[in-house]
């Protein structure tokens, strides 16, 4: 092929550059811009330096939302990852039942977020919902189940929604990881007389390291950014009990129109997500290497 003498090839990169500029760089810079100014109206803004950052970092409501967010995302990982692994281990390995369970597992992943919210709201409603009516008829709870009645009820509903929606993703990833292990590994373990627990610890888990890293990162980011489910369920209530970071952020930005603080907030938010992704990645990359058989 003939080589071009000039740098015309840069023109070919231009479309991508324009798309990325408009989809990522310019919006991000706008947010940075907002975070440094107090905006009173169109064309009426005052530069305030890092004031919004200081304000946000000492904001009690943000701290509370952040705390809730950590608990929520932590619970999500603690439930979804082990559950996903268990499901993957229990799934049939071949034949029609394998295909059937894969398809069944994938169904929740295909449903849009707000539809999930609606499904679960109806399912848990105390007057017509199957779950709501069912649990209340058992008469076990001191206050009848109603996700607007008690923070714990709202949390249980949210958790159920999240776990139902996203555990299949973890399970599918783990399943793919498990299927990639050659049969000879299991034979070798059998010859060594390894127990099935040892097979899990020394073959399956290490071999799933890659997919588990992806699963943890995806679920962490996604659950940390959760918005649609609590918004659809109670709009952040009852009280502020399900006001997670993004719910609070949207209230701040579009409810109160505090664009400056909201911009500062979202940058901090972004950095937190990034920091934790980095930490998880590093930990998962190195955990359990060179361990000893006990």
């Amino acid at each position: 092929m003939e080589k071009w003498a000039d740098n015309k090839a840069w023109l070919l990169v231009l479309p991508v550059f324009v798309v990325v500029a408009f989809s990522a760089i310019i919006p991000l810079m706008t947010v940075v811009n907002y975070s440094l100014q107090d905006i009173f109206g169109p064309g009426n803004a005052v530069f305030v330096g890092t004031e919004w950052f200081k304000e946000m970092l000492t904001d009690k409501r943000l701290h509370d939302a952040l705390g809730r967010q950590f608990i929520f995302s932590g619970l999500v990982l603690l439930i979804e990852i082990p559950l996903g692994i268990l499901i993957a281990l229990a799934m049939p390995k071949k034949g029609w039942s394998a295909s059937a369970s894969l398809v069944t597992l994938a169904i929740p992943l295909l449903i849009p977020w707000n539809v999930i919210g609606t499904i679960w709201i109806i399912f848990t409603r105390p007057d017509i919902g199957l779950f709501g009516v069912g649990i209340n008829s058992l008469d076990l709870l001191d206050i009848p189940f109603d996700h607007t009645a008690r923070p714990a009820y709202a949390w249980v509903t949210l958790m159920a929604m999240e776990v139902w929606h996203w555990t299949p993703l973890v399970a599918l990833l783990c399943y793919a990881g498990l299927r990639a292990i050659p049969e000879a590994y299991y034979q070798a373990a059998k010859i060594d007389g390894a127990s099935s627990w040892a097979v899990f610890c020394y073959i399956q888990l290490p071999k799933m390291r890659g997919v588990l890293t992806i699963a943890v990162l995806l679920r962490w980011m996604d659950s940390f950014l959760i918005y649609a489910e609590p918004f659809a369920l109670t709009g952040g209530g009852p009280g502020n009990s399900t006001t997670f970071l993004s719910i609070y952020l949207v209230k701040l930005a579009t409810g109160q129109f505090d664009l400056g603080p909201a911009a500062a907030f979202s940058l901090i938010y972004f950095l937190i997500v990034l920091l934790f992704c980095f930490i998880f990645y590093q930990v998962l990359l190195n955990v359990g290497k060179g361990e000893k058989i006990s």
């Binding site: 000879a184 590994y185 034979q187 059998k190 010859i191 060594d192 007389g193 020394y202 290497k289 058989i293």
Partner: protein, 365 residues
């Protein structure tokens, strides 16, 4: 210890993987299963290991039926084609893993791990993880895992296939030495005749789930009882041309007269298949008594310092293996020389009628 297979069949989903296998192995013996892909080598190993149950027949250890006994209780070790090690354990712990359940003292385990590591030149790598090793080192670790527990039955399923040429040669030489010092029954599967010859011991030639021939490796190479066994035990596969003997005169292929002397003397009249290995063909006459076979070059394949020339002769074809690089144009006429003292004679059903005297073959090897 002795291990015996009695009339073993293995049928999976209506497909016969093994049929009527009768074999015996003695302690300290080195055995090579030679056969092409899908010949049933791995199926047979798995049954010997106890990983699979035969569909019919018995596996006897020291005369005791162990057909249904779990692999855990058999005291065997196996090395696979893939490099199988525990991914999260260091080389040291990988080698130690088969000993963990043995109830040995820590000090004894340590000693044995280090001894085994030394045999396989892994001393410097004991703290590494398998993923940090080269393919050859990974397979050395896997072999060390198999050797460390002094199993009575050591099975190796094409252990060198996934290694590059250099490493393969190196490990092959070392393995011979390691096997010689073992008192176990060693069974090694391969698709390569040269590997089987190198390992020596006894060979079991397998094809389509059946045993074609057993015996001392060199002896089987020198006298393959069937044309099929000769094909499996030659690389490239042995060449065979339709031939006839009428009134004491032999004609091979396209009417090439073959003098019936030496081991060919006294062949009865009839139709035969005359077979010859590719390395017994020459591109120039090597001396008196050589027979010329003419044909057309179909393809000349240069492989390392050797050339494989595929030649069309009448309705049949054969391959010449020649040292050195010899380029040929496609379709070029060619004359190939063969000394009839290297001819194998098979009847039309593929049974051996006459083989070259052993010394002649040994000299070529």
């Amino acid at each position: 210890m002795s291990l015996a297979l009695r009339n073993v069949d293995k049928i999976v989903g209506g497909e016969t993987h093994l049929k009527g296998i009768d074999l015996e192995f003695e302690t300290g013996s080195r055995n090579v299963f030679l056969g092409r892909t899908l010949a049933g080598k791995t199926s047979l190993l798995r049954i010997m290991a106890g990983l699979d149950r035969p569909s019919r027949g018995k596996v006897l250890m020291d005369g005791v039926d162990v057909t249904g006994v779990s692999v855990r209780k058999r005291g065997i070790a196996m090395v696979y084609q893939q490099f199988i090690n525990y991914p999260s354990l260091t080389v040291y712990n990988n080698i130690a893993s088969p000993l963990r359940r043995s109830g040995l003292k820590k000090r004894d385990i340590d000693r044995r791990v280090r001894e085994t590591a030394e045999i396989l030149h892994l001393e410097e790598l004991l703290d590494r993880l398998p993923a940090e090793l080269s393919g050859g080192q990974q397979q050395r670790t896997a072999i060390a895992r198999a050797l460390v527990k002094d199993a009575k039955l050591l099975l190796l399923d094409e252990p060198l296939v996934n290694l590059d040429y250099k490493l393969r040669e190196e490990l092959r030489v070392e393995l011979q030495d390691i096997f010689r010092k073992r008192s176990a029954i060693v069974v090694y599967t391969t698709t390569e005749p040269s590997e089987a010859l190198m390992l020596g011991g006894k060979v079991v030639v397998l094809d389509e789930g059946r045993v074609l021939q057993t015996g001392a490796t060199a002896a089987v190479y020198q006298r393959p009882e069937t044309l099929r066994a000769a094909e499996v035990f030659s690389d490239p596969p042995i060449n065979a041309l339709d031939s006839t003997v009428t009134d004491g005169r032999a004609a091979m292929g396209d009417n090439i007269p073959i003098p019936l002397t030496g081991h060919l003397a006294g062949l009865a009249d009839g139709a035969y298949r005359f077979a010859f290995r590719s390395n017994h063909l020459w591109l120039s006459s090597q001396g008196e008594g050589d027979v010329a076979i003419s044909g057309k070059v179909e393809l000349a394949e240069i492989n390392g310092s050797e050339t494989f020339v595929y030649v069309h002769h009448g309705k049949s074809a054969f391959v010449v293996q020649q040292e050195g690089v010899h380029p040929f144009a496609m379709g070029a006429p060619i004359s190939v020389f063969l000394n009839p003292k290297h001819l194998f004679v098979y009847d039309t059903a593929g049974r051996l009628v006459a083989a070259p005297p052993a010394a002649g073959v040994a000299e070529q090897q």
